[in-house]
Symmetry: C2
Subunit: 202 residues, 2 copies
Amino acid sequence: MLVDFKRPSSHIKYLSSLTSDEWIKLALSNPIEILIDHAHCERKAAGVAVQLMFRYPSEPNLSEVLSPIAREELEHFEKILYFLKELGHSLKALKPPPYGAELAKNIRKDEPNRMLDSFLIAGLIEARSHERLALLTLNSEKESFKVLYESLLESEARHFGIYWKLAQNKFSKNQTFKRLEELSKIESEILAETYMMPRVHS
Amino acid sequence: MLVDFKRPSSHIKYLSSLTSDEWIKLALSNPIEILIDHAHCERKAAGVAVQLMFRYPSEPNLSEVLSPIAREELEHFEKILYFLKELGHSLKALKPPPYGAELAKNIRKDEPNRMLDSFLIAGLIEARSHERLALLTLNSEKESFKVLYESLLESEARHFGIYWKLAQNKFSKNQTFKRLEELSKIESEILAETYMMPRVHS
């Protein structure tokens, strides 16, 4: 069966690759599993923001930015929980794809490099979520799923912008761009090399 | 100097000991340090709720309860940050008192005991925060501090109730009461044996 998937008119320039048709097809064939996985993604994104607040408790103006991100991720997490419940489903543990752990291996251990890499990787994950939620919004069969994904995707792009700005506030433009380019290539490679599962980041 | 501190008319029955005059005196003499420490307490409490969501991702109706707690703790954390800023202060790393780590040593490692202990200890910390924020509300010199602490303390009591209910939903009443009594005694002993610092839990 040949399917033409809808794609957004603009691309996220910081991502080195576009999501394949294969992913879209697999995701659309497993709407509940993708939704549960995305709930876990929101929970994990909140965990990352809280973890950074723990790691850098005295970094000026960091907690002021990360705490509202964490709250918003938790709000979205709850939104998906109630959406799942309405459909007669509930949260369950899912085997995570290797994406997050593989990306984390690229966080350098020495400061301030660790901070820069942490911001940029958190941002790249948000950017990839944004790209994929946009694809789910455009291509999901059911209207209720389209509406849900559309309500979630805007903040993923905003969060990418916030992590990007956090990096730029602390590091030179050149340093930030150079490292983002490296990490963005790695992010695309991880996705290309992963055995594809019905997960947001697979 | 002999000071008569105001005390709330009712006690929190789950705490095995009342806070000493000595703590109240030390806390009132170090209002900014206590405030910064309390900001860290709110952040850590959010971290505990998120951590429990990570540990038990498929426990029915757990995330639905913990996620709003985490969001509220983060809201309070931000509230204190902005209050501190208005006073010309900002968040800084503080040496934590041994309280949290000592309490955590009493969490049994086998499930479901680990879950029961985690709920009860999280609840006891909230109960102690409630008791001490009430003392700070009653005895702080400055009106703005009284108003701030009063706005925070109600939810500490509510969160205690939520952790208590989470424990009761999963474990027998007898088992929950018995373990709470043990942990509550330990909590009081830790406070009694700790070298006192200007911290909320010291």
